[in-house]
């Protein structure tokens, strides 16, 4: 929050002059609207009749909700919207919960009670994001195909059936994908808890759980929410793993949108309606959390 609430007398780089400042404000509006225009166009097209959408471009038309009905209708054979939505919902929810369960203690340890070499540990987490996923995709594919190992002597069978096309494989991979970023962001939020506050609580005889509940959590709660939201956004939008490992079974929303385009071909209005449904949850979440999210990312390195 603090980053975006201006310090009292901070001066902008441009526009010391009054007139220039007004002109720049107008320019900013124009640039902002132009930049957003493709998305506005997408939303508008979602409310058009198919014939209007593929005709000459127009901003004035009679809006209809029919396209949204069309795309959410259950076609039976292919991946339906409801199915994809539920797949995405559970995969994103569970993987984000896992990320937080793993990342919160790690970030707490890195920030509040750092041991020697904490930097190296943080680097290790971040460095796993540098490894291209292609470096691991083939073994993951093979392992996910399932295997059984019979342990000699006892005769126990160990292994699993194919996870390809299941929600499980994506939950595991999305957890791994978001964990480094979450540790990174959370560490910066934990680092902001004043050491004096924790010491004061210790002197007052506060237990570790008490310290966490009464001192640390209230300060980092907004940061936790922002981090979780960023994980949700990345997991919700992920396409490569979803389409490579999962297109057959538990298809997610990005896979569904892409299939809409494949099946519908040139049906612009219908595709637009599908897209609006696909991006809406995450866009709204991002709007709400924008300030904290970026602060966590930026301050992760700089503070």
């Amino acid at each position: 929050m603090a980053v975006f609430t201006r310090a009292p007398k901070a001066e902008p780089i441009l526009g010391q002059n009054r007139v220039v400042a007004h002109l720049l404000a107008v320019l900013t509006w124009v640039v902002g609207l132009l930049y957003f225009f493709p998305l506005l166009w997408l939303v508008l097209n979602g409310f058009k009749e198919e014939a209007v959408a593929s005709g000459s471009p127009t901003l004035f038309f009679e809006p209809t909700l029919d396209r949204f009905g069309d795309v959410t209708e259950d076609a039976g054979n292919t991946l339906s919207f409801t199915e994809a939505f539920m797949n995405s919902f559970w995969i994103v929810l569970i993987s984000t919960v896992f990320v937080m369960i793993l990342a919160v203690p790690a970030a707490y340890a890195l920030a509040i009670r750092p041991m020697r070499m904490w930097r190296d540990v943080l680097f290790f987490f971040i460095s796993t994001k540098f490894l291209p996923i292609v470096g691991a995709i083939m073994p993951i594919y093979i392992i996910a195909q399932g295997f059984t190992v019979t342990i000699p002597l006892v005769g126990w069978e160990l292994g699993w059936d194919s996870l390809l096309g299941s929600r499980t494989i994506l939950v595991v991979l999305y957890t791994a994908m978001n964990l480094p970023l979450a540790v990174w962001m959370l560490r910066s939020f934990f680092a902001e808890v004043p050491k004096e506050l924790i010491e004061a609580a210790q002197i007052d005889g506060c237990s570790l759980m008490g310290q966490i509940r009464q001192v640390i959590l209230p300060i980092v709660a907004p940061g936790l929410a922002a981090t979780a939201l960023l994980c949700v956004i990345f997991a919700w939008n992920e396409f490569f793993l979803a389409v490579q490992l999962n297109s057959a079974g538990a298809g997610t929303i990005p896979v569904w949108v892409n299939s809409q385009q494949e099946f519908q071909g040139q049906f612009i209005a219908q595709f637009s309606a599908a897209s609006v449904l696909a991006i809406l949850p995450v866009v709204v979440a991002g709007w709400v959390a924008q300030k904290r999210m970026i602060r966590g990312l930026a301050m992760g390195a700089i503070k």
Binding site: V3, F4, A7, K9, A10, E11, I13, L24, A25, L27, T28, L33, F36, P38, W41, L42, L102, P105, A106, A109, R113, V121, F123, F124, F125, I126, S127, T128, F130, L131, P132, I133, G135, A136, I137, M138, A176, L179, V183, A191, I233, N237, F239, V243, Q244, I253, P254, V257, N258, Q261, I268, S275, I279, V282, Q290, I294, L297, A298, A301, I302
Partner: protein, 325 residues
Amino acid sequence: MTDTVVDGAFVDDPSVEDQSVEDESVVRAREVKALARREGWKRRLPILPALIFTIVVTQIPFLFTLFYSLTDWNISSIEPREFIGFDNYTSLNNPGEKFFREAAWVSVQMTVIAVLGSLFVGTGLAILLDRKFLGQGFIRTLLITPFLVMPVVASLLWKTQMFNKTFGLLNWLIESLGFEGIEFASRYPMASVITVLIWQWSPFMMLIVLAGLQGQDTSTLEAARVDGATTFGIFRQITFPQLRPYLELGTLLGAIYLIQVYDHIEVITGGVGTKNLPFWIAQRSIGGGNLFGLASAYSILVVIASIIIANIGLRVLSNLLEDDS
């Protein structure tokens, strides 16, 4: 058995060879040490689950890839895989494997242009936004939205409603100006993909730069202004140096994600003229090529290249973290 273990333990610590001479201070020192060790484990313990999970899911598959890369494994063939040493790696020098080099070049171009482009646009947007005006929050919200949109939708939107020759707005604009329409995605595949990448990533850069601009030390700026420095002079000599860590951070985070671009390529061009390394490797292995051995060798090379880039990146990070302790 027990004896040897005890012996070993004693040899490790010569001070306790003769227990009778062990005095109180040694005992105390050892207690302190044990306490420190226990304390150390207490501090490390919360990190372990995350660390172990990350190692198991990201590092172990990588070791498998390393192993596959030394075999001639073709998953569609029933013949057992054979160990062929470094043949997969040396085969990259064959003239027939020029596609690998092409994909590498596409990767470099795409990452560099997209990162620099979005950094440039993002900084511009941030400078425009860095001022109080009516609707500042609203415009900022509009500007960050492209970053939140899923890549598949962003790519399809640009492909079918902006670039497309029949239905695309860009072509409608071009035609109403009296020129002939262009099928952008097939005529300029690289530029089309990079345009969408920059559109999506500039907002991200903008937010990072904005955090930097608004965290500036205002007294320095005022002092410079009082001394009669020009706007440009202030930007070059004060703002820019203060922004540098933020720009570096943006470059780093942007590069991490943009080097792995897949979705945009798959949707906009289907790979024609824009196959980068991740796309190409996926195509040759699990995407139907089935050459797991060869593709693994490519993956290893990509990982090595990434490690080199990452080392440079991590050095930047460690500079950023330096004043943290």
